[in-house]
């Protein structure tokens, strides 16, 4: 039954992806299908809840079948597209890239070991027990979002969080899962396959495989691939939301516009604090719209990206109606001590330094240091060759990173410590630290595809092939 649920999820996601375009690669289809499929399942749960229908596998299967059939009116064309992709893959396999195969074997081994660990242990993390998994189990049993625990304030902090993450747990529980952590494995797989295909779009297979290994092996991220927490899954949505949008802006490929918008919509559907990234991506498009005067695109994109976020806000306000103090204290003004604490933690994370109980190097390895190094090297090259040649459209990505990080930092600066029942130091060492995941794929993508990396990997490829 659980396998049927997962297959259904992939089929639904694949149908949406193929409706957007049949020209996605197999890696892209694998990644987007799960993220879209599981996101859609939670939208179905939401709709069932709105219409006061009790969640059941039968209702979900029926809804899925209706949408899958509706989206597959041109089924023979889809099959033909798949056949073509398989033929292409087979043709590509005749010229074996042994280096990429070697790197793939390491990735596969690391993925296997973290998966057996993930699937062995049931959720036991504090946040999962007090919130995510508790909500999911009870939602599956009671068949609705506003479960009985809300009446006694026993739902936990995630009760008002957008439903994608714990909703995905509910979905697998409805299909008979004993523990919900199988979805964590699929989130991780989607993150890796999509990151690989984005880097591959700009470099070669060897570089894409190497940087996928670096992303996967980032210590804190790898550890989270075996935990029932929402940060890694959020990173799995933010990565394609940002990079697909960037690909559309840079290469003008229409299919990435739609996938970027859909993924960004789901970003607002998985975590409220990801609004910083939604605003930053819309800012990225607004910058381009100012150049091209194509404001219609901006409006369509903004609408798709914001509708899920706004729908959930309205649902919380109108249906859940849990009295809650504001999470943010906007009257905070300038607080030197608070700012100093935050900056010290930020420095530790970004520059691989120790501060109090955390050590940026141990958490994120070479990722951020590598990014800054790449930035300096490329800035030096740009000094000689010119900014436009070296950075090209990557300034959009850098602008995105600056805006997203500033907003993310500001969110924590104005966070209300009393409402969170936690001091700023503790929040920086836990929530902020885990939120740094969202930046990992983006900065690694920059490092992998910057001018100097491209030159290096082109030379390596020439050496490898002897051309």
């Amino acid at each position: 039954m659980l396998i049927a649920g997962i297959v259904l999820c992939y089929l639904l996601g694949c149908s949406v992806v193929m409706a957007v375009s049949r020209k996605f690669s197999l890696a892209e289809i694998t990644g987007y299908s799960f993220l879209t499929g599981i996101g859609m399942q939670t939208v179905f749960l939401f709709l069932l809840d709105i219409f006061q229908l009790h969640f059941t596998p039968f209702l979900l299967i029926s809804l899925n079948l209706v949408v899958i059939i509706a989206l597959n009116r041109k089924f023979p064309e889809t099959i033909a597209a798949f056949k073509e992709k398989l033929n292409q893959a087979r043709a590509g396999a005749s010229a074996v890239n042994y280096v990429a195969v070697f790197l793939f074997c390491i990735i596969a081994y690391l993925f296997y070991t973290i998966t057996i660990k993930n699937l062995f242990w049931p959720p036991s993390e504090g946040d999962s027990i007090t919130s995510f998994d508790k909500l999911a189990r009870v939602m599956a049993l009671e068949g609705k979002f506003k479960i009985s625990l809300f009446q006694y304030n026993l739902q936990g902090a995630a009760g008002v969080y957008p439903p994608l993450f714990h909703g995905s747990f509910t979905y697998v529980y409805l299909f008979g899962a004993e523990t919900p952590k199988i979805v964590i494995t699929f989130y991780f797989l989607s993150l890796l396959t999509l990151f690989y295909s984005f880097v591959k779009a700009y470099t070669n297979t060897t570089a894409a495989m190497l940087f996928t290994l670096v992303l996967m092996a980032t210590p804190e991220l790898y550890a989270h691939a075996a935990l029932a927490l929402g940060n890694m899954p959020t990173a799995a949505y933010i990565c394609p939301a940002v990079l697909a949008t960037y690909l559309w802006l840079d290469k003008g490929d229409e299919k990435y516009f739609w996938m970027g918008a859909i993924m960004l919509g789901f970003t607002g559907w998985i975590r409220s604090d990801a609004i910083a990234f939604i605003i930053a991506v819309i800012f990225m498009i607004a910058l381009k719209a100012l150049q091209t005067k194509d404001f219609k695109r901006l409006l369509i994109f903004g609408a798709i990206a914001l509708i899920p976020f706004v729908s959930w806000l309205l649902y919380v306000k109108l249906k859940i109606q849990v009295p809650q103090a504001s999470r943010f204290d906007l009257s905070i003004g300038y607080n030197a001590a608070r700012l100093n604490t935050m900056l010290n933690y930020t420095k530790a994370y970004l520059f691989a330094l120790p501060y109090r109980e955390v050590h940026g190097g141990q958490l994120y390895g070479v990722v951020f240091v590598g990014f800054f190094l790449a930035l300096i090297v490329n800035a030096a090259i740009a000094f000689k060759k010119g900014i436009k040649i070296v950075f090209g459209n990557q300034w959009i990505l850098l602008a995105f990173l600056m805006v997203a990080f500033s907003l993310y930092f500001s969110e924590f600066y104005v966070i209300n410590e009393d409402v969170q029942s936690s001091g700023i130091a503790s929040l920086m060492a836990s929530s902020f630290k885990r939120g740094m995941f969202y930046f990992l794929p983006i900065v690694l993508f920059f490092t992998a595809t910057c001018f100097s990396s491209k030159i290096f990997f082109d030379k390596l490829e020439k050496f490898r092939t002897g051309s």
Binding site: S94, A95, V96, N97, Y98, V99, F102, L103, I106, Y109, L110, T113, I114, I116, K117, F120, W121, P122, S124, G126, I129, T130, S131, D133, K134, R137, V138, L141, L149, Q151, Y152, N153, L154, G156, E178, T179, T206, A217, T218, P219, E220, Y222, A223, A226, A352, P354, H359, G361, Q362, L363, Y364, G365, V366, V369, L460, F463, R464, T465, G466, S467
Partner: protein
């Protein structure tokens, strides 16, 4: 389409691609081998930068054992603490960039299956019964038996008053049995409420049916008196006087 591409004899022959279409081609294969060798050296180098850390689990285990065992082990304890400090503070900037990778590869990637086998053997204790979710939770959550006891001895509509936070917060053995948000996960559909927080949830407070006693704390919340000589350290008692003998747990041995 492919047919259309067939060349006439007069056509220029297509330039051969750099990579041979055969599965084995000595040139690219040899060059790939060199790159793989180089990558392997880099990976092994990174791994061995912090290989002293492999000693840490044994050192910590021995330290804990010695601290719990009566007798004079000061010399060995000092020795171990010195060694741990030496390893943990061996942190040049370059090395610390790779500490996380080492821990992940050594303890998670290489150690995951071993750890699972060890835990499985420990839980199964010789039997071959497959492990259940409950077995694993019991292994991981050390108050699980107490929570399970609550489920076994309360009706599904029970409301349980948990022990006060300040009486247990400094004792990790009772971690979170005072936190309603945490306990609820294990006892649903039963409900629970924290001592001292009744005013935040007056409706629930009105319906308390049981009191969870831990470390002998909570007898004052009962609506009847339990003689001192009959007071268990850990038990679950109905808030109103029961007709028969109060339920007591046998979790004191494992949880205390």
């Amino acid at each position: 389409m492919a047919k259309g591409k067939q060349h006439l004899p007069s056509d220029k022959p297509e330039k051969k691609p750099a990579i041979s279409s055969s599965w084995f081609s000595a040139g690219p294969f040899f060059r790939s081998f060199i790159i793989i060798l180089l990558l392997s050296v880099i990976f092994i180098g990174i791994y061995s930068l912090n290989d002293k850390r492999t000693e840490l689990p044994d050192l910590y285990n021995e330290l804990q054992t010695l601290k719990e065992r009566p007798g004079d082990h000061d010399e060995r304890i000092n020795e171990i603490e010195h060694r741990i400090n030496e390893i943990e503070t061996d942190t040049s900037f370059f090395k610390t960039l790779f500490v996380g990778y080492f821990d992940e590869i050594h303890f998670v990637a290489f150690g995951a299956q071993d750890q699972i086998d060890k835990v499985t053997a420990e839980i199964q204790k010789g039997s071959n019964a497959p492990l259940t979710r409950e077995d694993k939770l019991n292994y991981k959550v050390h108050t699980y038996r107490l929570l399970d006891f609550i489920n076994a001895n309360c009706p599904p509509n029970a409301v349980i008053l948990l022990p006060p936070t300040d009486s247990l917060i400094n004792d990790s053995r009772w971690n979170y049995v005072y936190d309603p948000g945490w306990v609820e996960y294990f006892i649903y559909p039963r409900l629970c409420i924290a001592t001292g927080k009744e005013s935040e949830n007056p409706e629930l407070a009105k319906h308390i049916t049981h009191v969870l006693i831990v470390r002998g704390i909570g007898y004052d919340r009962l609506k009847y008196d339990v003689p001192l000589d009959k007071r268990e350290k850990v038990c679950l008692l109905p808030i109103n006087k029961p007709v028969d003998v109060p339920e007591t747990t046998d979790t004191t041995q494992t949880s205390n």
